[in-house]
């Protein structure tokens, strides 16, 4: 059982480069951060890569964390998401040639999704092309709008909409096969 340390103690220990305290912070945020990392990865090895890079960044830049601007959870999540997006970008460039004014909303059978397990849904999403995968997770799971996604990924809002439409169409087809 891992003892839950006070965030302030953890921060001070991590700023002092105390390896034991750094590990304590890592242990405390492992499940939460790994859940986020897996949304942007194809498999466990991808997730492990994202996690290791993200936490190295966390410890290197923890001095810059400002508690008045948000919780430590939110700060670490932002770092893990950014690392996940960098990981996806390394696999595929985000094309600027495709844009949409409005996002298509094909009907998806929710009852099929509810019958599926978490791992099965994860596999469906992981099969999406990397850029489309990233936009779908950012929009449907993380809750970002197209403007925010465009800023994060360095693409236009129209391209973000196009990727979301492509994700929905692909998921609809795959769920139709499962029915």
């Amino acid at each position: 059982m891992i003892a839950v340390a006070n965030d302030i103690d953890l921060l001070q220990g991590c700023i002092a480069n105390d390896r034991k305290v750094q590990k304590l912070l890592y242990e405390q945020f492992y499940e939460f951060a790994m859940t986020v990392a897996m949304r942007y990865s194809r498999d466990e090895m991808d997730a492990a890569d994202i996690m290791s890079h993200a936490f190295v960044k966390v410890f290197k830049s923890i001095k810059s964390y400002d508690s008045t601007k948000g919780s430590l959870h939110a700060w670490i999540k932002r770092i893990v998401v950014n690392e996940g997006l960098d990981h996806i970008k390394s696999r595929e460039r985000f094309s600027e040639n495709v844009e949409l004014e409005t996002v298509d909303e094909p009907p998806i059978n929710n009852s099929v999704l509810e019958e599926m397990g978490a791992e099965e849904i994860m596999e469906l999403i992981a099969k999406l092309p990397p850029a489309t995968h990233a936009v779908f997770v950012l929009y449907a799971v993380e809750g970002y709008n197209h403007r925010e996604i465009a800023e994060k990924l360095g693409i236009s809002e129209g391209t973000s909409k196009w990727h979301l439409s492509e994700a929905r169409k692909t998921l609809q087809k795959q769920l139709a096969h499962l029915r």
């Binding site: 499940e31 859940t35 998806i108 999704l113 849904i121 994860m122």
Partner: protein, 204 residues
């Protein structure tokens, strides 16, 4: 924030239930390895060495300062040593005066300085107070510096050179170098005994 569709809410809920693989230790080993490379444990992020704001110069100064002081002391020592050895070399270039004179003074076998008293005709020592000792004699009698090869010339060099010059310019030879004259005649008979004077009763 966007307006999520019903199926998107379902997906989000399902993903939250996702069991994360237990790769805790494996991932931490990678993180620790990278941290050991980038920021070893004895590295303190606050210690940016070149940052005056964090007192970087002061913190590194205590390491560099003593080293600089030692280097300065050693440098000054060698400079002084070189300055001392140069005049000694010049002194060694003139060893003839000092080395040839010194044995004469120190030689215990040399005969003592004497003279013949013209009144008594006896041999007397010159050191009996009637003949003052020369400056060179007094210096050589003291023998303060000649037997010490390396001496700080800034304070003692004039003392060494002075007697050498005076000794070389002194024209008459030392009395102790002149062998004492042998007294002629029979001891106890002086010239007075041979002096012929007219007596009153011998005058016609």
């Amino acid at each position: 924030m966007n307006q999520k569709a019903t199926y998107e809410i379902t997906i989000t809920d399902k993903l939250r239930q996702l069991q994360v693989p237990d790769m805790r230790d494996a991932i931490w080993n990678r993180i620790e390895q990278q941290l050991d490379l980038d920021m070893p444990e004895d590295y303190n992020p606050d210690d940016t060495p070149d940052s005056p704001k964090n007192g970087g110069w002061r913190k590194t100064g205590w390491k560099v300062g003593p080293f600089a002081v030692i280097v300065a002391i050693v440098t000054i020592f060698f400079i002084n040593k070189n300055n001392n050895t140069k005049p000694n070399n010049t002194d060694q270039s003139q060893p003839v005066n000092t080395q040839t004179v010194t044995p004469q003074i120190n030689d215990p076998t040399s005969p003592p300085a004497t003279r013949i008293n013209p009144k008594t005709g006896k041999i007397e020592s010159v050191t009996d107070g009637n003949t003052p000792a020369t400056a060179s004699d007094s210096v050589f009698d003291q023998q303060p510096l000649i037997n010490i090869p390396i001496i700080d010339t800034s304070t003692h060099a004039p003392v060494i050179k002075q007697p050498v010059v005076q000794q070389s310019t002194q024209p008459p030879p030392r009395q102790d170098s002149v062998p004492p004259k042998k007294s002629r005649g029979v001891k106890g008979i002086s010239d007075k005994d041979y002096h012929i004077t007219l007596k009153k009763d011998s005058v016609p």
